[in-house]
């Protein structure tokens, strides 16, 4: 964690909790959330530290952290917290806030996958897996490096195998209520 001197945003917690409640103020720093977190090895801030920094109004620290993006949304922390802090849901809210406020994700491929997925659903109402991976690879900029390194063959082989095993549709299913879905998922940024 990088210390940048204290410049707390005192309204941050209030705004965050208004979207919840996530009960962050109930936290007594027991670290049970962190001890059971399967993704902590990839985090720069541990889950309990995210809560503590949010309480201290350290908005930039949490919004730009790796943690909110590498969280696997497994709900272990929220389930085990003795004080009912909804940590996993708070992580989601912080991701959404980061996107809205234009804080670049330090894990751009994680964001790109979520965006590709929702874009995919917006068009037809259901996920069309046949397009999800290629669009994600393009969107996250991985397609180019995969072509350069020749590792695109791994994905192609996987797709081909799925196709042969009749586990990949070639055409999307378009639902009748597609209009409703695109209204729900209208890009809001």
């Amino acid at each position: 964690m990088q210390q940048t001197g204290l410049s707390p945003d005192f309204t941050f917690l209030e705004r965050v909790e208004a979207a919840g409640p996530f009960h962050a103020t109930e936290c007594f720093q027991c670290r049970k959330c962190t001890n059971g977190c399967p993704a902590s090895f990839a985090m720069d801030l541990f889950p309990d530290q995210v809560i503590r920094l949010a309480l201290l109004g350290q908005k930039q620290e949490v919004l730009s952290s790796q943690t909110i993006w590498v969280c696997a949304a497994c709900e272990t922390c929220s389930t085990r917290c003795p004080n009912g802090v909804r940590i996993a849901e708070l992580m989601d809210h912080l991701k959404e806030m980061a996107v809205k406020e234009g804080v670049p994700s330090p894990q751009p491929q994680v964001l790109a996958l979520h965006q590709s997925f929702l874009e995919n659903v917006r068009l037809t109402g259901r996920v069309f897996e046949g397009a999800l991976l290629p669009v994600f690879l393009l969107r996250s900029g991985q397609m180019r490096s995969k072509i350069e390194k020749g590792t695109w063959r791994d994905e192609a082989r996987l797709g081909w195998k799925l196709l042969r095993k009749k586990r990949l549709s070639l055409l999307p299913t378009v639902i009748k209520g597609r209009g409703e879905i695109s209204a729900i998922l209208r890009p809001s940024k």
Partner: protein, 286 residues
């Protein structure tokens, strides 16, 4: 008996093996599946991660559509869909709240995680009676993953740290479910695509423990867990410099095998890590 059915997107695609086994097994037990008309994607991890509003509205549309079908129960095979639907109910304030009544109506079916439905007392008895080929020599671990259990106030899971549904089903079929500590540990879900290094590490840990307790296969009810543990197994083996050769089998496929439901070997042949050698060795398949 008619029940409503919400398959979810992956059962139309990469989890068609699961879907086929569900249809065949349900029909062999006289359960008629009626699909939610014009259902849509539940939004999955993507929606709840970066678009909270859509993460509620997408499943709510499905709840509304499900309420138009005249059945009192709805089966949901995908634990992530199950979780999103249940979370939406919770966010509306629960079935009895005025908001839920206004938005969804009073005819919403009870939402069942498919494995929990099959682990009900009556179903277990029916299954035991239908077994024609007990899976006696098969030792497995049951892997539940996250979403059917957590958080328990939303999923209604009875024992969220040590769920039993799959263990009970496996036992009813004559196989041995081994005790292991990773029943509800995370497989990494969509991180397998966006952060494969994280996915490999989480799944590698599961393989290692499964083998340490003496399992020959992993039984699952989640198609996300299945694909994360099955499709990338050779890559994870290469990465870890170790052979695992662990078939990842849906509980419905096991029911099909034990109860002689036609098609079982066909579903299993669509997996990546071939379960047939194990099933032959244990006298289950020929």
């Amino acid at each position: 008996m008619k029940v409503t059915y919400y398959p979810g997107c992956s059962l139309e695609g990469t989890a068609r093996d699961y879907a086929d086994s569900i249809h065949a097994v349900c029909s062999s037990f006289g359960i008629e599946l009626e699909e939610v008309p014009d259902w849509n994607c539940c939004g999955a991890t993507a929606a709840h991660s970066i678009n909270h509003k859509a993460g509620v509205e997408l499943p709510v549309r499905n709840l509304k559509l499900a309420a138009t079908v005249a059945n009192s129960e709805m089966l949901v095979p995908c634990p992530l869909c199950f979780n999103r639907l249940k979370t939406a109910v919770w966010q509306l304030g629960g079935e009895s709240s005025s908001r839920f009544q206004a938005e969804v109506g009073s005819r919403a079916p009870r939402i069942w995680d498919l494995a929990n439905y099959f682990a009900g007392e009556e179903m277990l008895r029916k299954m035991e009676a239908a077994v024609t080929k007990p899976l006696e020599k098969l030792k497995v671990v049951c892997y539940y993953g996250c979403m059917a259990s957590r958080p328990p106030e939303i999923t209604g899971a009875a024992d969220h740290e040590n769920p039993q549904s799959l263990d009970l089903i496996v036992k009813a079929l004559g196989a041995t479910p081994l005790a292991w500590p990773y029943k509800t540990d995370c497989c990494g879900a969509s991180l397998m695509i966006s952060r494969p290094d994280m996915g490999y590490r989480l799944v590698g840990k599961l393989y290692d423990m499964a083998l340490r307790v003496g399992a020959e296969a992993v039984v699952v009810s989640c198609q996300m867990c299945q694909s994360n543990l099955d499709m990338y197994q050779d890559k994870i083996e290469a990465e870890m410099g170790r052979k695992f050769s662990l078939p990842i089998i849906y509980f419905t496929e096991l029911i099909g095998l034990a109860c002689g439901v036609p098609g079982a070997e066909g579903w299993l042949s669509r997996h990546f890590t071939d379960p047939l050698p194990l099933l032959r060795r244990t006298g289950i398949a020929y």
